[in-house]
Point group: C2
Chain length 280, copies 2
């Protein structure tokens, strides 16, 4: 890997890229992050991600760090171009020694980490998902690194040779995937769970809703039950690095989805077109 | 600070003590920890903490690292003796590059961090607490570093000049404090919430129940409502570095607690005696 990792103003080799063990991100998952999608070495929806980063920081009473993230991203992409992937940015509350649960209302110096990462461009192919209990904390609208529940769910999906885990609350509502937002369609109407403290306000989710608007496809933001998942004509997931992709099975049960003439394909094509125009 | 930090077999100066930014503990809070209490430079309930560490690791499908933690603890206490405090141990799933939510069932090499930390010996004094929404994830019985909900609650307590935040679920049950277990007494009977996925199986909680047994003080492990907190004769919190301490107020409301002739004082005295015999 010939990429670099940005840490607090320096661009370091990945094996030199470290943080203190007294960093509150490491000790308490007291940190937030973003993944800004890169396609053809260009940034997608950069401003929207930075806006969400600001919101996450503000919700945790942290200041926005004094860095020009656009320049950092551009520098990272200059050092190692990314055909498809993302730029990961993490901001922690900072290093605090001795370790203490609270930070005494003192503003610490945040630790800022950023790196570019290439992934395989997703094929135009339906994915498989499992359902899994939603064990996440009560503020999933804040994009924090308190992700243990998410990664356990995602690993369970991988164990079952699936691509995503759809998270179901104890009362039977499906909120989203472990790192994706969720859409279903039935009889030509699209539905996605409304923003709440259990849902990440997905940048790609919002972009997808704009695409639906442009295509005049009706949609509603309403709570979604596990039963509805299986009674839908189509189920899609969205994320920064997946754009919008359909599912072909959930919990091993085949969905009746056919790619050809699907609502998804209309949305996918318009999404792609609109995305190309938005890349910077 | 002339202490050292153990990392993966080496004892390093605190400012040299770093982990990779690709550590899964840092990126995903995919790690577990323990704080082993030290009094008079001796370890308290070492085996019990290691047992719980084993359980936490096993619940997350991680192997117990191949280190002799007793020797590590003793070495840390030799380098910098601790009159009162603890030894912090953290085990992460390991470093994984590129960043990926799942670890593909591959066993990574865990990162192991340990350091000694001195704190002020608590006074024999009643504490103040607030109540705060329990926003934690669904597996609080696993002592993971997914602690963002805990530290936000604890900071809110500090903002209100209080010592602890008691966590109340949306249905009105009080589970425990942000880093303590909870006991109440009414009419000579002690009550503490039963172990569940919302409760950390506290090593000090268990030790305190043993003390109650020895003193033939009746107790029950039952769910506890927020109302009961305020209707109790005494409210205590327990933790590895606090032993057992009473509260004098919650949410600014004075409790009727009097230290003299309290049930707490009986328990505190026996706890201290029993503790002295258990230090190693």
């Amino acid at each position: 890997v010939n990429s670099k990792v940005f840490i607090n103003g320096k661009f370091l080799d990945p094996d030199q890229a470290t943080v203190s063990v007294f960093d509150r991100g490491f000790l308490f998952s007291d940190s937030v992050y973003e993944v800004i999608h890169v396609d053809g070495n260009k940034l997608f929806l950069f401003e929207e991600h930075i806006e969400r980063l600001k919101r996450s920081l503000s919700e945790l009473d942290m200041d926005f760090p004094n860095y020009d993230f656009l320049t950092i991203c551009q520098e990272l992409l200059k050092i190692s171009p990314v055909d498809y992937g993302g730029i990961y940015i993490q901001v922690t509350r900072g290093t605090q020694q001795p370790r203490s649960h609270f930070w005494h209302q003192k503003k610490l110096l945040p630790n800022v980490v950023a790196f570019a990462q290439s992934i395989k461009r997703p094929e135009k192919k339906a994915l498989k998902a499992i359902t899994y209990p939603d064990l996440r904390w009560g503020r999933c609208d804040v994009k924090s690194t308190s992700l243990l529940a998410n990664v356990l769910a995602r690993e369970e999906a991988a164990k079952n040779s699936c691509d995503e885990a759809l998270l179901v609350s104890s009362s039977g509502w499906v909120s989203e995937g472990s790192s994706t937002n969720l859409f279903v369609c039935r009889n030509g109407v699209v539905k996605t769970p409304p923003l709440s403290e259990n849902i990440l306000p997905g940048v790609t989710r919002k972009f997808c809703l704009e695409v639906l608007n442009e295509l005049a496809i009706p949609y509603k933001e309403e709570k979604l039950s596990k039963e509805e998942l299986f009674n839908s004509d189509e189920v899609w997931i969205t994320s920064s690095t997946k754009d919008v992709l359909p599912l072909e099975s959930i919990d091993g049960i085949e969905l009746k989805f056919e790619m050809e003439n699907s609502l998804w394909e209309q949305v996918f094509n318009r999404f792609k077109e609109k995305k190309l125009k938005s890349l910077k």
